[in-house]
Symmetry: C2
């Protein structure tokens, strides 16, 4: 549960938080029903407004990554493995499609792209 904010990154803070939590849930690093620290605490520790944290949490709940109960706290939502794999595939598919169309419009062929991936993995 090591949350962090990168001020140099121009992607909005609430999105950075979203990505970190979502990734940890999808990779299994955060097990279902794991309690998250109170948003006031997160807000204080990261030096970020409560509204920003809430924004991230709301989106995470909307997308099925979190459960939240007033007075009690926020917890990792239970997700079955099939569903989890679907989500992972969704997220990666979008990124892959973007990269492929990027490569194509730059005139880079398939094998060159593949070897770039192999190198950097």
């Amino acid at each position: 549960m090591n949350l962090s904010v990168n001020p140099n990154d121009k992607t909005p803070i609430y999105r950075q938080l979203y990505e970190q939590i979502a990734s940890e849930v999808l990779s299994g690093a955060l097990a279902p029903y794991t309690p998250l620290p109170p948003i006031r605490t997160v807000s204080k520790e990261l030096g970020v407004s409560m509204i920003t944290v809430r924004g991230a949490w709301e989106m995470l709940e909307r997308d099925g990554y979190l459960l939240t109960r007033a007075g009690s706290g926020c917890f990792v939502a239970p997700i079955n493995d099939a569903h989890r794999r679907d989500r992972v595939d969704e997220r990666l598919s979008a990124a892959v499609d973007a990269l492929v169309s990027d490569a194509k419009s730059l005139g880079v062929d398939r094998d060159t792209l593949l070897s770039m991936i192999e190198e950097r993995f």
Copy 2:
């Protein structure tokens, strides 16, 4: 030189234009010294403000893709092949790195990622 704007895409218009021109220059689709249509024309045809087109053009000039002369017009900047390949590599490297780190944080292994690329190329 088929410029287009996608209103559904949330990426800013000036960036959409930038990407299209830059890609065509880097892929060689736009040869050096090719004249671009006047910004007033582009503005009218795409139904966007001159400021937006200017913004894209300025950035393209700053990054060495365009030459612009008041009274004369804008032209594709001359780039030698080595330099062009470097630029292509830069752009693709960034995208590849992002994808790879994305895959890693989602717990997706190298071979799975590679086969996704192969499928979609």
